[in-house]
């Protein structure tokens, strides 16, 4: 009995010292959706931040997929238990930015805590994607990627072709030669992201009314456009002729045949670079996404994909200060360079990009620079991003209809009419949720 009491007293005392130790530093939490090797790098950043100073301590928590992390963050916010930092992906941006009062705009957060902020420090392609209509940055871009074209070097050599610059070149020169050489010429991993959103950006076409959805009021999607319909007509034709293959809506199902050397050209994320280096069985390289010369002679930059970090509202000033300090640390050139090299995601600031260049990283690995080069191409009126509510569901509608086009269950014309109608219904519904 006495022994038990002693033990209890000892553990209580220990608990007290621990809690006083913890009291000295401000604790913040960070919910993210980075699994596997990416998660290890996230943990590394957090550990390094905690070791770099003694005032703040950040704890990263893995919350599953992007969708799950967002839903968990929302549920926690409603219960008043939100984390300080929440990672939200591109398609969820409208939901979280639309809910004014759910987050503290990162630009305000940094300014309030005396940290210099200049949006022009960030590379062109990432500046406004998570910003409001006035150009104020709301979410801090974190893992930024963009779709690029990877190719199997051996396959292209064997077929005697170079990576296509335009879809016209792909259709008439590259693809037939690759097919002749025994490869499936082309695959891609995300039809809504690569062949839709970034199709509009690359060709500088408006994707939605109301300034691509950035403005206030009702937004209508402009997906039912002749340019994209002729693109999908071509894609379906390529599939029928054996110049393109589609392995379903899952990302990895389409990436795997490329890693195995069956597919010669694969459109994926610049963030896939880190993983591909480990899994690809053949030498590969990358270049920019092709464009249709018939649509534009001056292709523009693409949208960023990936996710941003949002500072959740309803936290104490000390905790917000800690969050601001963490953002400062995370966006520093050294941390960005480490993140860029380990994962393949693009560095978000010009300074980090310069650092990578001076270090000679791209001479060693030229493919790692493609994403950032593409994001730094000239901007157009329609390239800063898009903002549409219920966009996760709109993507689901696209995935469904594109699948039906490619399996011959519907026509391009009908599919785009359906997408337009269902997407506009969803947008109208979303508008009501904001009322």
């Amino acid at each position: 009995m006495l022994k038990k009491n002693l033990l209890a007293a000892a553990s209580m005392a220990m608990g007290m010292t621990l809690s006083t130790a913890a009291f000295a530093e401000t604790q913040i939490t960070w919910w993210h959706a980075m699994g596997g090797a990416l998660g290890d790098t996230v943990n590394q950043i957090a550990t390094d931040f905690n070791a770099s100073q003694s005032e703040y301590k950040i704890t990263p928590v893995f919350k599953g997929t992007y969708e799950e992390a967002l839903t968990a963050g929302i549920a926690a916010f409603r219960a008043g238990e939100q984390p300080n930092v929440l990672q939200v992906f591109d398609a969820g941006a409208a939901t979280v930015i639309g809910a004014k009062g759910a987050t503290v705009p990162v630009q305000d957060l940094l300014a309030d805590n005396g940290i210099d902020f200049d949006i022009n420090d960030y590379i062109a392609g990432v500046r406004y994607f998570y910003a409001d209509a006035n150009g104020k940055m709301i979410g801090m871009p974190f893992n930024s990627s963009t779709p690029i074209m990877y190719y199997n070097v051996e396959a292209l050599e064997k077929a005697g072709v170079t990576p296509p610059k335009t879809w016209e070149e792909f259709e008439t020169v590259t693809a037939p030669a690759l097919k002749e050489a025994g490869y499936i010429p082309l695959a891609q991993s995300h039809l809504p992201w690569i062949f839709t959103e970034n199709f509009f950006s690359r060709h500088n076409l408006p994707f939605a009314t109301n300034d691509n959805g950035y403005g206030d009021g009702e937004t209508k999607i402009l997906v039912n456009s002749p340019e994209i319909k002729s693109h999908f007509t071509a894609v379906k034709k390529w599939k029928d002729e054996g110049l393109f293959e589609w392995f379903g809506a899952g990302w990895n199902d389409n990436q795997k045949p490329f890693e195995e050397g069956k597919v010669a050209i694969w459109l994926g994320s610049s963030g896939s670079f880190g993983g591909l280096q480990k899994t690809a069985t053949m030498p590969f390289s990358a270049t920019m996404l092709p464009y249709w010369e018939a649509v534009t002679k001056e292709p523009k930059q693409t949208f960023i994909g990936g996710a941003a970090l949002f500072a959740m509202a309803g936290k104490s000033a000390e905790e917000n200060k800690a969050t601001a300090e963490f953002f400062r640390y995370m966006s520093s050139p050294e941390v960005q360079l480490m993140w860029h090299k380990q994962t393949g995601y693009v560095p978000i600031t010009e300074a980090a990009y310069e650092l990578a260049k001076t270090e000679g990283y791209y001479e060693e690995k030229p493919a790692a620079e493609v994403g950032i080069q593409q994001l730094s191409l000239p901007a157009g009126d329609n390239t800063k991003g898009y903002r549409m509510g219920f966009y996760v569901q709109i993507r689901d509608v696209m995935n469904r209809e594109y699948g039906r086009i490619l399996t011959g269950e519907t026509t391009v014309e009908e599919a785009f009419a359906t997408i337009e109608k269902e997407a506009n219904d969803l947008l109208a519904r979303f508008n009501k949720t904001q009322g």
Partner: protein, 293 residues
């Protein structure tokens, strides 16, 4: 006859209270909340909401996609229930006759029950994998290109096969014990009357199995409607695309992935009504048509 009962009103209420609280907190309160949400369109963070009356319901019934999902759910439920019950019945009848090594046979047949639906889904993905799944290769030998995740009907077929396979053991256990509870004397009397095993089965054994079979019918329907969620999620890899899905999975897709609280609440309410109808049907039939001995 003297009625046994409580003297005070308070005691039974006290005894029931824990149960009532649990049901209230974990069932009635969320159900009422879902019912309320289904009449609103609400910002996920809870900042704004608009009362829209029955719009969420009319939107659903006006949506070709939702009706397609409902149609698939019905077909899927029917096929899974029918196949898993009839295969289990066949196995149970055969296992009932085995005399040597009974336990080994039965254990082997029950084993699959230990496989959780999501795991069953992953096994399905492996077996039907596009590149080199054994079933895919087998079907390719027969000249059929099976493409899980690409072709709507191929994915649907894989879902039915996996769901059926996963649920045969439960049916098997119940049907076997049902068969064994049929009195030997009845079987012997039937044997004197008729030599045809088939006739004896349909005239004597099957009606005596009816209570068990009816109970299993309800269990199977609810299984196919609700418990197959994890299996479907594994088979479509969280990206349904153009693949089929059940109504429960659509609640998840719209509510948890899409953050459309109003729309998915309306879908949940429709499912609640469905379960209510099923329950009423179950009790009425049990009262009137099924005779327990």
């Amino acid at each position: 006859m003297k009625r046994a009962g409580f003297n005070h009103f308070g005691l039974p209420v006290m005894l029931l209270l824990p149960q009532l609280i649990i049901i209230g907190v974990f069932f009635y309160w969320p159900a009422a909340y879902a019912l309320r949400s289904s009449f609103f369109l609400e910002d996920p963070f809870g900042f704004g909401s608009t009362f829209v009356g029955v719009d969420n319901y009319t939107d659903l019934f006006g949506s070709a996609q939702y009706l397609k999902v409902a149609g698939f759910t019905l077909g899927f439920t029917f096929l899974v229930t029918f196949l898993s019950l009839s295969i289990a019945l066949l196995l149970a009848v055969k296992a009932d006759k085995v005399i040597r090594g009974t336990r080994v046979y039965r254990t082997l047949l029950m084993w699959v029950y230990a496989v959780a639906p999501p795991v069953a889904g992953f096994l399905g993905v492996m077996v039907f994998y596009q590149g080199n799944g054994p079933m895919t290769e087998f079907l390719a030998m027969l000249g059929y290109e099976f493409r899980l995740g690409v072709n709507y009907y191929d994915t649907a077929a894989a879902m039915v096969v996996v769901a059926t396979w996963n649920h045969i053991p439960v049916n098997f256990i119940f049907l076997l014990s049902g068969l064994q509870s049929i009195p030997q004397s009845v079987k012997e009397a039937a044997l004197i009357d008729n030599r045809s095993g088939m006739r004896r089965f349909w005239d004597i054994t099957f009606p005596l199995l009816a209570p068990t079979a009816f109970f299993l019918l309800i269990i199977n329907i609810t299984y196919a409607l609700f418990d197959t969620f994890g299996m479907i999620d594994a088979l479509v890899k969280g990206e349904p695309g153009n693949n089929p899905m059940t109504m429960v999975y659509k609640v998840y897709v719209d509510g948890f992935r899409g953050n459309d609280l109003g729309g998915s609440s309306a879908q949940s309410v429709i499912l609640m009504v469905l379960v209510l109808v099923l329950t009423v049907f179950q009790f009425r039939v049990m009262d009137r048509r099924i005779h327990y001995t």
